[in-house]
Symmetry: C2
Subunit: 205 residues, 2 copies
Amino acid sequence: MSCPHTRQKILDCAEKLFARHGFHGTSLRRITADAGVNLAAVHYHFGSKDGLVEEVFKRRMGPLNEERMSRLEALRSGPGFDAEQVLRSFVEPTLRFAEQGEGNRDFLALIGRALIEPDEQIRRMFFDLVAPLFHLLLDLVCEALPHLSRDLLFWRLHFALGAMGRYLFLAGQRSSMNEAMGTVIPDLPAGDCLIGFIVRGLEGP
Amino acid sequence: MSCPHTRQKILDCAEKLFARHGFHGTSLRRITADAGVNLAAVHYHFGSKDGLVEEVFKRRMGPLNEERMSRLEALRSGPGFDAEQVLRSFVEPTLRFAEQGEGNRDFLALIGRALIEPDEQIRRMFFDLVAPLFHLLLDLVCEALPHLSRDLLFWRLHFALGAMGRYLFLAGQRSSMNEAMGTVIPDLPAGDCLIGFIVRGLEGP
DNA sequence: CTGTAATTCAAACGTTTGTTTAAATCCGAT
DNA sequence: ATCGGATTTAAACAAACGTTTGAATTACAG
């Protein structure tokens, strides 16, 4: 552990390539070549490709989830809250995270990917990582909108996740997409645009 | 072309497996084994794996897009319309499509996948297939909500796509997910729930 | 029945994949 | 300086992949 240089370079390159080309679409040889390290270094430091994937997730998901969790907990301990405050506590740290560096942005595009990951093991690992957060989120939304059933809010919350996932994905792919496709993705809207969309959808009869 | 039996069985199995495990995650050997046909039949009938993917899409996307298109065109030719009518013309055929058989449901989960497909060739092929529809959709939404800028509506429309994609994906994976994960996905909400979410989000200041 | 094209089949092709091995190298403590 | 654990390296591994081949089989028109 004296020289974290190799470890970190592998994680950085893997994160970027996973975000751009998916997990199955990225080979260890490509990762280690980009990182300028030996192929076997992956297995030495992470045990396997799945271990690398897991570490890529945990590295940034840890701090991000902690912040979202603490904001949600603070809300619950507070005097009262509405649905918008709940959603802001979840979405805002995510979007602010995206603005703090290219690495983070790649990582968020990665989350958008993980939401519908085909590989069962990877999806399971991701779900275990976010399940507590999602349950807390659903609980608070139910508390903020007590006149709506939990099943209904379950679905609306997933619609919200889908909308945010689309935002994260397009934001991550924007530069590479604009030059490849004819379609031009306009500038990113402020986070308020996304939050407004979600809140309006979540409330309502 | 006298015996479409093989062709169709390959398409059916490929559709189901692509929906469940993604494109890279599904091998031709698995497809042909499930279909009970020879491995080489894929290349005989479709030329390549990419050719098969393309045909799986076109088979159902053709009729579905035609219906959505004609409903949108009819709306444009009519006396007047609001945003909800525009979105209904797009979403309703999609959801009704999902209720007409397991094959269709698999296909819709597949669309949810294609929206963030890593492979550039496949994503390009899919985008070319839906680009005209998306542009028409955006035009009509702009016309229905003239007080909102096109860029803003571009993003809100993508949020809507993300929400619908999440619905399609979860609907397709529901049975296999409930038994695998601890999380239980409740019964599907009526399409009105999704449409309501989207419309509320799309309108607004 | 015969001959021709369409279709299926088993087998192998060359690549690429994740993974493993064992030797070589580096680095800090004695 | 030297030892020992940590790290890196080149090379090879078996397995799986998409693809190709050429012969075998089927289906159908003359």
